[in-house]
């Protein structure tokens, strides 16, 4: 392990730049929310929030200059959050489909017929 490791001090311009960017983006997100874009609003708001989060993570938290594994840990955890989201939402919003579309979804004419049915 390297003994003469100097701590990296993040240049001031990154901090100030991040602060300004975050303040502007907050105003943007509030302004956009006043316009009714229907379902698109939420996606836009989340998009802006993610950019803001990116600024905080990379510059305030210093991930841009951080060790490799710390990055893997952080972004890896987001992968698991994504798994959680996608699977639970996929389940909740596809639960009733099988009953409303019964047979045509799986191309089963009648499940009873399929036993030993050659056709």
């Amino acid at each position: 392990m390297s003994d003469n490791h100097e701590h990296f001090v993040i240049p001031l311009k990154y901090y100030v730049g991040t602060l300004i960017a975050l303040l502007i983006l907050t105003v943007v997100t509030v302004a956009v929310a006043q316009i009714d874009l229907g379902a698109f609003n939420i996606y836009l708001a989340m998009f802006v929030a993610m950019i803001k989060a990116g600024f905080v993570i990379f510059f305030f938290m210093g991930v841009r200059w951080d060790e490799g594994f710390n990055k893997i840990a952080l972004f890896g955890s987001l992968l698991f959050v994504a798994i959680f989201f996608v699977i639970v939402l996929a389940d909740v919003f596809s639960r009733d489909i099988i009953y409303s579309t019964e047979n045509d979804v799986f191309n089963i004419k009648s499940p009873v017929k399929m036993i030993g049915d050659d056709s």
Partner: protein, 324 residues
């Protein structure tokens, strides 16, 4: 559990591993079960025998103090034992999934029956008939039946072992299963989602009748012939009163019925009432109104589930439990 009707035994019929198979689809489940069972038996035997053989062959003895070889990998064999199990399990997945669809997706021309679960009984309603809610699930043989199920309180699960069918029952949502019975008889229904004290007594009978018998059963109106106390005794079991009320004086969940009629009862409010016909009737229809002191307020209302004659029958039955 009630032995009044001869219920088809799960243990005595069927194979060593599975109970009797009495629906059009239960056989396909059995085929797969047996296939994987034998695969497992051979797999486990193979692994065990190889392990024991190695134990004997390479046992540490004076002649064998040092390993013969430090072989630590063999690409070919590792690929083989990765790929072959992979193919096998993917095959089983497809097989299971295909059968799952057959079990889940009902055909077009089903007869619908509504199933309601509540702590701790099932009842079954037949839309389009004048039938009162039934305590037994009565279905005709050779007819596809679709059950539309829901719960009144917590989660339950509706399980017919002989048909290899199970589905959770939830409050505020409907779940469905379907089947077509192939054998006339009386079979067991269980609740398999843990639902509280009397979970293990939350069973029901599935009665499969010939089509003619079923039509006749549908037409049978209310029982006006059985003497009231005898009818009451029957209802005591079939309406699951026995889950919470004893008739031998012991305390279960609710107060006992023994020596109850004509006695005075202290209520949670501190008031004391006489147990008479009116009090019993009110307690059946509005169970939350007058709670006996020391007992939880957990009983569901039987309004609409019992006819006037049936309520009278229960009152008469409780009267017979009075000892002099």
């Amino acid at each position: 559990m009630s032995k009044e009707k001869q219920i088809d035994s799960l243990v005595d019929y069927g194979t060593t591993w599975l109970p009797g198979s009495y629906s059009t689809l239960s056989d396909i489940v059995d085929v797969q079960f047996n296939a994987i069972l034998w695969l497992s038996v051979f797999g486990t035997l193979g692994i065990t025998l190889v392990t024991l053989y190695f134990c004997l062959k390479y046992k540490r003895t004076q002649k064998n103090l040092v390993s013969k070889s430090q072989i630590d990998h063999n690409a070919r064999i590792e690929i083989i034992w990765t790929v072959i199990p992979f193919i096998i399990v993917m095959g089983i997945f497809y097989w299971g999934f295909r059968d799952y669809l057959r079990l889940t997706v009902a055909p077009e021309d089903t007869m619908e029956i509504r199933v309601t679960g509540e702590k701790w009984r099932w009842y079954f309603e037949y839309p389009g008939t004048g039938k009162r809610p039934s305590d037994d699930l009565v279905v005709p043989v050779g007819q596809a039946v679709k059950l539309v199920m829901s719960s009144k309180d917590v989660l339950h699960s509706f399980y017919i072992p002989n048909f290899r069918l199970k589905r959770d029952v939830q409050p505020n949502r409907y779940s469905h299963i379907w089947f077509e019975a192939t054998k006339i008889g009386t079979f067991q229904i269980f609740c398999t989602e843990y639902c509280g004290d009397q979970h293990s007594n939350m069973g029901a009978n599935l009665i499969v009748m010939s089509k003619n018998d079923f039509e006749a059963w549908k037409e049978v109106g209310e029982d006006t012939e059985t003497p009231l106390p005898i009818l009451g005794k029957r209802l005591y079991k079939s309406k699951a009163c026995n889950a919470c009320h004893s008739i031998d004086g012991s305390n279960v969940i609710g107060p006992t019925w023994k020596n109850a009629y004509g006695a005075n009862r202290e209520l949670e409010s501190g008031e004391v009432v006489l147990i008479d016909d009116n009090y019993i009737r009110e307690s059946i229809v509005y169970p939350g109104k007058k709670i006996a002191k020391g007992y939880p307020n957990v009983m569901n209302s039987y309004a609409g589930l019992l006819s006037d004659r049936e309520i009278n029958a229960l009152i008469e039955f409780i009267k017979t439990l009075k000892e002099d």
